[in-house]
Amino acid sequence: MAVGKVWVFADITEGKPAPVALELLAKARSLGGTTEAVAFSKDAEAAAGELGAHGATTLFAATDPAYDEVLLGGPAADALAALVGEHHPDLILFGMTYDGRDVAGRLAARLGVPVLANGVDLSADGGIAVQTSIFGATLNVTTKFDAATPAIAIMRPKSFAAEPSGGAAAKVVPITTPVDEKHRRARVTDRVADVAAGPKLEEAPVVISGGRGLGDPKNFELLDQLASAIGGAAVGASRAVVDAGWVPYAMQVGQTGKTVKPGVYLAFGISGAMQHTVGMKGAKAIVAVNKDENAPIFKLADLGVVADALKVLPQLIEEVKARKS
């Protein structure tokens, strides 16, 4: 049974859709129904071309700048609830982003329909089903939505590959639901970017991450040095050190941070809590260095080194430099 109509919620930053939205459009198209996108941003219309080129025939766009001044969850759920009543999608897909979770959670409560989060795969044979990977990715669980529509699913980034469809720009249909006054009780007064120099974590072919085992925030310099010795590598971190304030949130790899799928992932002083591994286990190759030979990260590692990361790092930087020159 094919799905009739699938909507993809697209996070938009400066007119650019988030990569996960394009990934979800590719998957939505494969389900065989109508694929449409929904976006809330004053620059949403600028994304119609790219969303269309990835298969969205229509873009429902809320461009009222008021949406950018408040937390998106409340007003976007208002607008989506109204749109759902008008257009009856069978499935709404969200990326596991901060705003994606906010909107999906409120929308599910508003409509009284179930929501499945943390999805890594999706199928529509005999009903819509979402696959999640749980308990440190030791179990795959498939859950089918019962009759209530729309089904709401939140999918992890990089679960699917983005694929251009060659489609024309999506037809823009304005969302006219105004931002209710009550949502102004929580206002966004500033947006701060923790600027990370160098390549983006999600795009870099090599990611080097550090955890508590590095002992001290200043030892992240060693990771930066290794990244520049390798060239084109990005530096990430485990939640433990981000929560401890060693490095900015934007560097966090894992459940509450970024999902990466590089060619090679190097983990230094990271034990491998599930919170972290869900964000990096899709790497093609994993190298782990940890003092504790029982650290769970070694179960994922293609090459595991039982050693003090601080001892190995300076030597490795020299070895890499020697091979590059």
Binding site: G105, G112, K182, A186, R187, R191, A285, A301
Partner: protein
Amino acid sequence: MKVVVCVKQIPDPNTTGQLEPSTHFLKRDGVEAVMDPGDESGVEAGLQLVEKHGGDVTVVSMGPERGLDAVRKALAMGAGKGVLISDDALRGSDALTTAKVLAAAIKKDGFDLVITATESTDGYTGIVPQAIAELLDVPAVSFAKSVEYDGATLKVQRQTEAGYDVVEAQLPAVVSVTAGANEPRYPSLKGIMGAKSKPMDRLTAADLGIGDAGGATAGQTITAVEPAPERAAGEIVKDEGEAAKRIAEFLVEKKVI
């Protein structure tokens, strides 16, 4: 300020979880349970706010009988009152049902601020706080890495993909805090002793006017549980001076350098 903090007793996150084969419910028997480490930050955030601005902290938990341990721990940390909603009818509840139950319990006692963790360390859906906020019709300031209050306005740094947003919110509101928001205190001996005499409400789904809410009627059905394909066992080396060289060779093999 009346603060309500949601907490949850979960299987020790340092053990690998299991599902019961017949029901697909979380296996709880014979598994060590702890208060979700993320919730400790929620309790701490609530305690810090009332210590500075006055008021009291109530902890609310939904779960089996032993959820009592999580509530008691929060009471030992300094919360004033506990509420446990425990009911066989709620076994197997999904995120939305969980939110409905918690929201109903929160509404019953009233609140100025609801604090939760960003997500549970066993379920990881990360949408319960937002669903609670929707049901209570208040803003949800999610993924807060710092929370301040000046007596009138909450000022929150909310984690984003690029960094953080500064959010100013009026009460009542729901805030979900990250584990980095604070350093949770340990319960003192006096706190642990005192916890036993603090008020504790025991509620069922019916007490909250929630009927047949959980399990099979939750709108979704688990159809398959399979072991994930395991990664092929890797090469493990103990460093005897050659480890850096071996990693460099590996990077060459993978054509990274």
